[in-house]
């Protein structure tokens, strides 16, 4: 099996290399002497068509002096690799992997991945606005993400604990998605796609700049039938349709996004609604019953003020957010259920959260070598409802209403001790009604001995507050013992980073980290029928990451990374569940014709993930997967087209399942394709 895999991939490597050599030759032939710019006048210079240097715009972002290891993903990469969701982006990012249970996608980073915890330990931001909701704290990275990926200008992925600036949730890192502006679009854009699994999407976007401002409005719709003949051998019985989940993988969403800015004010509104059938019969639901599904609806309004005056830059924000989750679970009437119940019925989580808040931040260079940043944040979670009801007249129901307040203060000092040496020190205090306060410090030394060489030494402590779901959730079966006295989880990180730039073309990055996590919140069986969340686990993880990345003027770019993590559960002294030791990635974009036709090829390798499933030790096997995209702007001016093939070699890939599933592992999609086109008027 493994041998076979290897044989198939070697020709692919050959293809990559020949692409590489091909582009190099094409460029050499085309070289011509540059015009003598020094003798031109200004008017001539402004009329000169210039060639953008690819590397620079990306490398010169916050990357070098940030007290963290940062990856910036651009909209070009999203197009060239045919990425459909944030999950696709993270799969290609150094040190990240993603687990999918055919309902939600779960982020794995630094050896840590808990399918079923809704990504509570990564902070997800859209234009600086927090997307994690206040019930589950979920960072939605699948089709339930709030922004169509076509509207993304860039994504900054900041590794390591960043609680000192961003507060709770920035436990393993921050993903900041930055949207395109109306000025960038300047017109109408219509886009559509179709692909395997009867998937289709459409989008209409309008953007405009005017004197003193700009705005952008966009609407998207996505429909997919999914894999409509999923087979689960665990249910291979005539009573459960022989294990076939017929038309149970349906995934549909719509999203709206509007953003405008006038002078110093930016107003943004966004909405997404997704509903997904759950084909895996998780949580003991009836197999192959289309009533079992989840609906996520997330929306917000955000007013931002951004101004620099007299050497001080100020940002302030006022926001209003909503999150609604409807989880429908179809059950057969059991012996504990009321006798008047029908033979089958639906149990529903109908959760609603509404919150508003404000924050302000100012940054000032107080001395030539000292930059200070300080700020405050306030949030009022005025409505937190987590009821669970049986959709049966006169049926059982559990009301569960809460509200709480939260505030935080933070400060950061950046002292340039020497021209080559920066000390970055930050601290933040967060206050929660539920458990009290938490202090998060971060210290970093950033040393640049010569231009192009950067060393960073970082110590950081971060925390994650127990969320409303962990504190309060219970259902009509009384399956959860609520745990109002949960304490926050903490992580301490020690990290050393070496970044090396070779001209503006090639960059390498190497890092070593050690994470120590305490008071990790996990499920615990308190009786045969009840579980409770408790602070019970300790984890230690030691790992390293290496990446090399290059971007050439020809339009050719490549990135390869390898990460290693050894993560141990300190309580059981076993390897941490769901944690792959090795991750390897390769992404290559080759311009095939005049920067108008690109081939994007990616390879991802994830090693075996061991875990305990219903008291048995099992594993999801390691895999390597290849995806390929052809992207073209050559057909017509304004027309962009692409064709992508995912899981090119049709490998069988499985992800681990939580104990909420009968299955040990959840099979992933085989080979699928997508065609996409967008036209700008």
């Amino acid at each position: 099996m493994t041998r076979n895999r290897c044989r198939l991939l070697v020709p692919l490597a050959g293809l990559l290399l020949s692409l590489l050599c091909g582009t190099a030759r094409a460029d050499d032939a085309a070289e011509q002497p540059a015009p003598d710019l020094g003798t031109m006048d200004l008017e001539q210079l402004t009329n000169l068509k210039v060639e953008k240097v690819y590397g620079v715009s990306k490398f010169e972002q916050v990357v070098t002096e940030a007290p963290a290891s940062v990856t910036v993903v651009t909209s070009d990469e999203i197009r060239h690799y045919g990425w459909r969701t944030l999950a696709d982006v993270l799969k290609a990012t150094r040190g990240f992997f993603v687990t999918y249970d055919r309902n939600y996608s779960y982020i794995g980073t630094r050896g840590f991945n808990r399918p079923g915890d809704y990504n509570t330990r990564v902070l997800l931001l859209l234009d600086g606005h927090q997307i994690n909701d206040v019930i589950y704290e979920s960072a939605a990275i699948g089709t339930e993400f709030i922004l169509d990926l076509a509207l993304v200008d860039r994504i900054e992925i900041i590794r390591g604990p960043s609680s000192s600036l961003y507060g709770a949730g920035a436990f393993f890192g921050v993903i900041n998605v930055i949207s395109k502006s109306g000025k960038q679009l300047d017109g109408v854009e219509a886009a559509g796609s179709f692909g395997s699994q009867k998937s289709g999407s459409g989008r209409l976007t309008f953007g405009k700049a005017f004197n003193g401002g700009e705005f952008l409005v966009s609407g998207s719709r996505y429909v997919s039938r999914g894999d409509d003949r999923l087979f689960y051998p665990e249910f291979n019985d005539p009573a459960t349709n022989n294990g076939m989940a017929d038309n149970m993988d349906r995934d549909r969403n719509y999203s709206l996004f509007a953003s405008g800015h006038l002078h110093d004010f930016t107003l943004t509104g966004a909405l997404v609604s997704r509903d997904k059938r759950i084909p895996t019969a998780s949580f003991g639901t009836i197999f192959d019953d289309p009533r079992t599904k989840s609906t996520d609806r997330r929306s917000f309004l955000d007013l931002k003020y951004d101004k620099a005056f007299e050497g001080t830059s100020v940002t302030a924000r006022l926001f209003y957010d909503e999150y609604r989750f409807i989880g429908d679970f179809a059950y057969e009437r059991g012996i504990d259920d009321p006798p008047f119940y029908p033979a089958t019925y639906v149990n529903r989580d109908d959760h609603l959260a509404r919150w508003w808040g404000a924050e302000a931040q100012a940054s000032r260079q107080v001395l030539p070598r000292l930059q200070l940043t300080g700020g405050a944040r306030f949030r009022d979670n005025f409505q937190l409802e987590l009821p669970n009801v049986d959709l049966v007249p006169g049926g059982r129901s559990v009301e569960n209403d809460h509200s709480d307040l939260f505030w935080a203060l933070f400060g950061q000092a950046e002292l340039r001790i020497l021209d080559e040496l920066i000390l970055n020190a930050g601290v933040r205090y967060d206050h929660y009604e539920t458990f009290g306060g938490a202090t998060s410090p971060r210290l970093a030394l950033i040393y640049t001995p010569v231009e192009g060489t950067v060393f960073k030494l970082i110590y950081g402590k971060a925390f994650r507050a127990p969320n409303a779901y962990e504190l309060y959730y219970n259902d009509v079966f009384n399956g959860y013992a609520t745990s109002p006295s949960l304490r926050p989880e903490t992580v301490r990180t020690y990290e050393a980073i070496w970044e090396q730039y070779y001209g503006d073309v090639v960059r390498t990055s190497a890092s070593l980290f050690y994470n120590k996590i305490d008071n990790l919140i996990s499920y615990e069986d308190v009786s045969a029928t009840q579980v409770a969340f408790a602070n019970m686990e300790r984890v230690k993880a030691l790992g390293g990451e290496f990446e090399v990345e290059g971007q050439w003027n020809s339009g050719f770019s490549a990135r390869a990374s390898y990460s290693f993590v050894s993560a141990r559960n300190d309580v059981t002294d076993q390897r941490l569940d769901y944690s792959p030791r090795h991750l390897a990635k390769l992404n290559v974009t080759a311009p095939l014709y005049r920067k108008k036709l690109f081939a994007g090829i990616e390879l991802q390798g994830v090693s075996r993930r061991d875990f305990t499933h219903n008291d048995a030790q099992v594993a999801a096997g390691g895999y390597a997967v290849a995806n390929a995209t052809l992207y073209s702007t050559a057909l017509l001016p304004g027309l962009e087209t692409s064709v992508s093939v995912y899981n090119l070699l049709d490998r069988r890939i499985v992800d681990p399942a939580t104990t909420d599933h009968v299955q040990n592992v959840i099979p992933q999609d085989g080979r699928t394709y997508r065609l996409q086109a967008s036209y700008r008027f």
Partner: protein
């Protein structure tokens, strides 16, 4: 699993080798002039259309100090103009770190500087009547005097008149007619 990782290692090695072949010093691309060479030429050229406040130069033949700040290729793109003259002033070129004093700078090129430093840098330049030119997004809107922006594959000017007046610069109409005039707070 070892086989897969052997395969991956082989691929990575392959790409690394290819990268090394490609990463040698490469001449300019052919389709157009390189972005930063054009920007460097623009900075040199535009100095001819600026009148510095009285007393900025000790004498008619005193040197014009062009300083650059931040990462990236802008600093290198100014080097060819070292020793050339602008209206009788020989050009000097210097690179500064963020936070360093502006000293004798007449013109400061800001590029590849983190946004949060910008307010401080511009404030310092304003107090010393240093002409600021930058290619950060919205540079002129943020209080810089001349912003270089990309428009349809060409480099264009944005000029913040209020910032120019505050630092007592006079900008010739020949330069103004090529530029887009920006008020602070505009997009």
């Amino acid at each position: 699993m070892p086989t897969i990782f052997n395969m991956t290692r082989r691929l990575i090695l392959g790409v690394l080798t290819a990268s090394l072949v490609l990463s040698g010093p490469r001449p300019l691309g052919a389709e157009g002039a390189q972005e930063y060479q054009v920007k460097g030429a623009m900075v040199y050229n535009m100095a001819k259309y600026i009148e510095w406040p009285a007393g900025a130069f000790a004498s008619n033949g005193a040197p014009l100090m062009i300083c650059s700040m931040g990462r990236g290729p802008f600093a290198a793109a100014l080097e060819p103009y070292r020793g050339k003259t602008v209206l009788g002033h020989p050009v000097l070129v210097r690179h500064l770190q963020v936070g360093e004093e502006l000293g004798e700078c007449h013109l400061l090129v800001v590029s590849g500087v983190e946004k949060r430093y910008l307010a401080g840098v511009l404030d310092m330049a304003r107090r010393r009547s240093v002409l600021t030119v930058g290619d950060l997004p919205d540079f002129a809107r943020q209080g810089g005097i001349i912003g270089l922006v990309e428009q349809e594959g060409r480099v264009r000017f944005e000029i913040n008149m209020k910032a120019a007046h505050q630092s007592r610069f006079k900008i010739s109409s020949q330069l103004l007619k090529l530029a887009r005039i920006i008020k602070e707070g505009d997009s």
